[in-house]
C-alpha cells in the first residue's frame, strides 16, 4: 500500500514538473511583457524596453530561465524559497503567497465540507425517492446549477444577497405577503417530497413544514431578529434537543430508548453549560486553541455520557452523543459570535451593512476574537455560497447514481431478507457502500473548486490564490502565475493522495489486498 502510494506520488510529481515546464514556455509566448510600454510616447522608449528586458532576463532562452526558476523553487527544500518577483509591483512572490494561500484554503475548505454534506444528503434522498416529484425536482435543480456560470451567480448574489439584504436589515418593510407565503409553501412541498410516505403522512409533513417555516419567518420579522440576531439559551435548548432526536433517528432509530435518552442528556448538559460558558468567554480572551480544546472537552463529555448509559452497545451510544455534542457546541459558539453583531454592525467601518461583498475582511476592524470571526464569516458568506452551488450539484448527482447502483445489489436484498428495517438497510448497508466511490470524486471536485475559486475570488475581491493568478495574468507577471500553478498542482496532488488513502481505509477489499 505504502509503496503504491509512493509510486503514485512520484509519478504525479514528475507529471507536475513536466506541466510546469510546458506552461512556462507557453506563458513566455503568451504573455506580453511590454504591454504597458506599447502605447507609451515616452522619448526614451528604447531604454525602457531595454531595462525591462534586463529586469526580466529576457535575453536568456526561456528553457534556461525555467531551470533558474526551478532552482529558486527548489530552495524551499532547504528553507530558502525563491518564487521570483512580481515585476509590476516589485513584490516578492513569497510575500504575496502567504496571505493568499491561507485565504483560499479557508474559502475552499468551508465550501467543500458544506457541499459534501448537503450533496450527499440530498442525493441520497433523491435516490430513495427515485422517479418521485422530489427526485425530478432535484434533478432539474442540479442541472440548472451545472449550467449556471459562476460569475453570473456571483453578480446576482452581490446584488440580491448583499445589497438588498443589507437594505432590508436597515429598513425592514415588506411590500406584500406573497413571497413569504410562497416560501412557506415551497418548504412544505420540499419536506413532503423528501420524507414521502402515504397520503396522510404527506399531508401532515406538508402542514408541519409550512407552519414551522411560517412561524420561523414570523418570529424573525416580529422580533426584528435580523437587527440583533442571536440564538440564546432557549434556541440552544430547542435546537439541541431536536438535534439529539434526529441524530438518534439516523444512527440507531428512535426505538432504541437508551440512545435517545443519552443524546437528550447530552443536549441538556450542553444547555446547562450555556451560562457558565458565557462567563468564561467574558473573562478569558479566547482563541482557536481554546475553541478546539472546548470542543474536545465537549466530545469527551458526550462519550462519557454515552458510555455511562451502558447498554449492549455503549460505543453506538457514544457515537450518537458525540454528534449531538458537536452540534450543541457549534450552537453555543455561533450564539457567542452573533452576540457581537450589534457592535460589529455599528462599527463605522461596517456602517450597518454587515453582509460584505468585497474582500476577505473589513479594513480597520478592531475587535476581540469574536468580532474578528464574525467579520470573517460575513465576508465568507457570499463567495462560499457561490462555490457551494457549483459543487453541490455534482455531489448530489454522484451520490444519487451510486446509491441507485448499490440499492440494486444482491446484498441489499439479503439485508432486507434478514428482517432489517428500511432505515438500517439504507444507513448501514447501502450508504456505506455508496459513499466508497465518492472518495474518488472528491479530489477531482476540489480541483474544480479551486478553478471556481479563481472566478469567485476575482469577483468578490477575495485576496486568495485565484485572484493572485488572474491579476498576475493581466499584468503579465510570470513568476506569480508560475507559483500559482505549482502550488495548485501540489494541492491537487495532496487531495488525490488523501482520497486514495481514504478509499483504502474505507474499502476492506483494497485494504487487505494491498
Amino acid at each position: 500500500m505504502i509503496r503504491f502510494i509512493l509510486r503514485r506520488l512520484l509519478s504525479t510529481a514528475l507529471v507536475l514538473l513536466v506541466v510546469t515546464f510546458v506552461l512556462y514556455l507557453l506563458l513566455n509566448v503568451a504573455l506580453d511583457f511590454f504591454w504597458d510600454l506599447r502605447s507609451s510616447t515616452s522619448p526614451n522608449i528604447e531604454a525602457l524596453y531595454e531595462s525591462r528586458r534586463r529586469l526580466l532576463d529576457l535575453d536568456t532562452p526561456a528553457v534556461i530561465r525555467y531551470f533558474k526558476w526551478l532552482a529558486g523553487v527548489g530552495g524551499c527544500a532547504i528553507g530558502q524559497c525563491d518564487f521570483g518577483i512580481a515585476w509590476k509591483s516589485g513584490q516578492e512572490v513569497t510575500d504575496q503567497l502567504q496571505g493568499a494561500i491561507v485565504n483560499t484554503i479557508k474559502l475552499i475548505t468551508a465550501s467543500t465540507i458544506v457541499a459534501i454534506i448537503l450533496g450527499i444528503a440530498v442525493g441520497m434522498i433523491s435516490a430513495i425517492r427515485q422517479y418521485s416529484g422530489f427526485d425530478y425536482f432535484i434533478t432539474f435543480v442540479s442541472f440548472l446549477l451545472y449550467s449556471l456560470p459562476v460569475f453570473w451567480v456571483a453578480v446576482l448574489l452581490k446584488q440580491y444577497g448583499a445589497i438588498d439584504i443589507n437594505n432590508f436589515i436597515n429598513d425592514p418593510t415588506f411590500d406584500s405577503w406573497w413571497p413569504i407565503i410562497i416560501v412557506c409553501a415551497a418548504m412544505g412541498l420540499f419536506w413532503m417530497g423528501a420524507l414521502g410516505g402515504n397520503g396522510k403522512r404527506r399531508v401532515i409533513t406538508f402542514s408541519a413544514a409550512t407552519l414551522i417555516t411560517f412561524a420561523t419567518i414570523y418570529y424573525i420579522l416580529a422580533s426584528s431578529w435580523l437587527q440583533h440576531p442571536s440564538i440564546g439559551v432557549v434556541g440552544v435548548i430547542i435546537i439541541g434537543l431536536g438535534a439529539a432526536v434526529v441524530m438518534t433517528y439516523l444512527s440507531t432509530g428512535l426505538k432504541n430508548r437508551r440512545v435517545l435518552y443519552a443524546s437528550l442528556t447530552t443536549a441538556a448538559i450542553g444547555a446547562l453549560l450555556f451560562m457558565p460558558l458565557q462567563y468564561l468567554f467574558y473573562y478569558v480572551e479566547m482563541n482557536w486553541l481554546w475553541m478546539t480544546g472546548l470542543l474536545i472537552v465537549a466530545i469527551a463529555v458526550a462519550i462519557g455520557v454515552g458510555l455511562a448509559f451502558r447498554g449492549p452497545d455503549p460505543w453506538d451510544t457514544a457515537r450518537t452523543t458525540s454528534f449531538t455534542a458537536i452540534i450543541v457546541a457549534f450552537l453555543i459558539f455561533a450564539d457567542r459570535v452573533l452576540q457581537g453583531w450589534q457592535d460589529y454592525s455599528n462599527d463605522p467601518a461596517i456602517n450597518n451593512r454587515p453582509i460584505a461583498t468585497i474582500g476577505a475582511s473589513a479594513p480597520n476592524i478592531d475587535g476581540d476574537f469574536w468580532i474578528t470571526n464574525l467579520d470573517s464569516f460575513t465576508h465568507l458568506l457570499l463567495p462560499s455560497i457561490a462555490l457551494i452551488l457549483i459543487s453541490f450539484a455534482s455531489y448530489t448527482r454522484y451520490t444519487r447514481g451510486s446509491m441507485l447502483e448499490v440499492m440494486g445489489q444482491d446484498y441489499i436484498r439479503t439485508a432486507r431478507a434478514k428482517g432489517l428495517n428500511e432505515r438500517t438497510v439504507i444507513m448501514r448497508h447501502a450508504l456505506r457502500n455508496a459513499l466508497l466511490p465518492l472518495a474518488s470524486v472528491v479530489p477531482v471536485d476540489i480541483i474544480t473548486m479551486i478553478g471556481g475559486a479563481v472566478i469567485t475570488e476575482t469577483i468578490f475581491g477575495w485576496n486568495g490564490m485565484g485572484k493572485l493568478f488572474i491579476d498576475s495574468m493581466r499584468q503579465a507577471e510570470l513568476d506569480p502565475v508560475m507559483a500559482y500553478i505549482l502550488i495548485t498542482g501540489l494541492l491537487s496532488i495532496i487531495a488525490n493522495l488523501v482520497a486514495d488513502f481514504l478509499y483504502a481505509v474505507l474499502d476492506p477489499r483494497i485494504r487487505v489486498n494491498a
Binding site: L26, Y131, Y146, L148, P149, W152, V155, R413, G451
Partner: protein, 343 residues
Amino acid sequence: MSTNNDNQNALALDEVRDNAIESKETEGLSQGKIVLRKFLRHKGAMISIIVLVLVAVFAFSAQGIAGLPGWWKYSHTASGQVLNPGGAPTWSFSNLFSLGEHPFGQDEIGRDNFARVMKGTQISIIVMFIIGAVCLIIGTTVGALAGYYRGWIDSVLMRITDGFIILPVIVVGSILGVLVGGSSGPMLGLALGCILWTGLARLVRGDFMSLREREFVDSARVAGASDFRIMFKHMLPNAMGVIIVNTTLIMSQAIVLEASLSYLGFGIQPPGISLGQLISEYQTSFATRPWLFWWPGLFIIIIALCVNFIGDGLRDAFDPRMKTIPSWRKMKKAERMAQKGAK
C-alpha cells in the same frame, strides 16, 4: 459492468424472463433504433432539443453568418440613437403586446442588445461545437489506444491526461486563451478542446478495457480480424454510448467555460463578441442597465441546460439497465380497477 447489470436485475425478474419482456418491447430493432426510441421518449431531452434548435436557428438567422445577411434590422456593431431612457427594452403590453424597436434594450452607445446577444449566441454555439468535436476526436483516439493496447502506451497516455487533470481547466484555459487570444471563436474552441478531452479519454479507455475482455472481441480475433478492425468495427460501436453521452456533457461544460474565460478577459475579447464577453463588458452596469446583464446570461443558461438534459436523455437511452419507467399512477389505477372488479 455486465455482472452488475445482472445483479440489478436479479431483484426484478429472472434474467431470461427479463429478456423476454425486453424483446417484446424491442422486436426487430437494432440496438441503435432501441436507443433512439428510448431517447425519443425522454421528455426533458426532447423539449431541450427543440429549444436548442430554435435558439440556434434564431441566432444564426437573425444576424446572418459568413457574409449572409440576417433578418434582424440592426447589426451588432452599429450604434444608434438611444430610444428609451437608458436604453431600456422597448417591448410593452400596450396593444396586447408589442416588441418595439429594441426588444432586449440598448447599451449606452445605442447598440441593439438583441443583435448583440444573437451574435454572441452564434459564436458561443460555434465554440461549443468545435470544443465538442475536438474532444470527441482526441478523447476517443487516446482512450481507445490506451484501453486496447494497455502496457506502456496506456501508461504514457494516462500520464499525459494526468497532466491535464492536475490543474483546473480555467487556469490552463486562461493561458491558452491568452496565447491564441483575441477575437477568433474557432481558434479558442480548438485550444479549449485540447484541454477538455481528458475525462472522455479516461472513460473510453475504461470502456475499451472492459470490452476487450468480452468474448466477441476474442471471437473476432479468432475469425482473423486485424487490431484496427477489432478496434473500430467491433469495439467502437459498442463504446458509442459512453462517447456520445460524455461528449454532450463536455459541450455543456464548454459553453460555461468559454463564457467564464471571456468574462475574465482571457477568451474572446472586443471587438469579438460572445455571451461571456457581453456579460463581462456590461457587468458594471448591472445597477443601471440590468437587461444588458440578464439576456446574455439567460442564453448561456438555456443552452447549457438544454445540452445537459440532452446528455441525460442520451445516458438513459444508452443505459441497458434503464427500462421504461413503470408508471406508478397507472399501476395504482389498474390495481384499484382490479379490486373493484373483484367486489
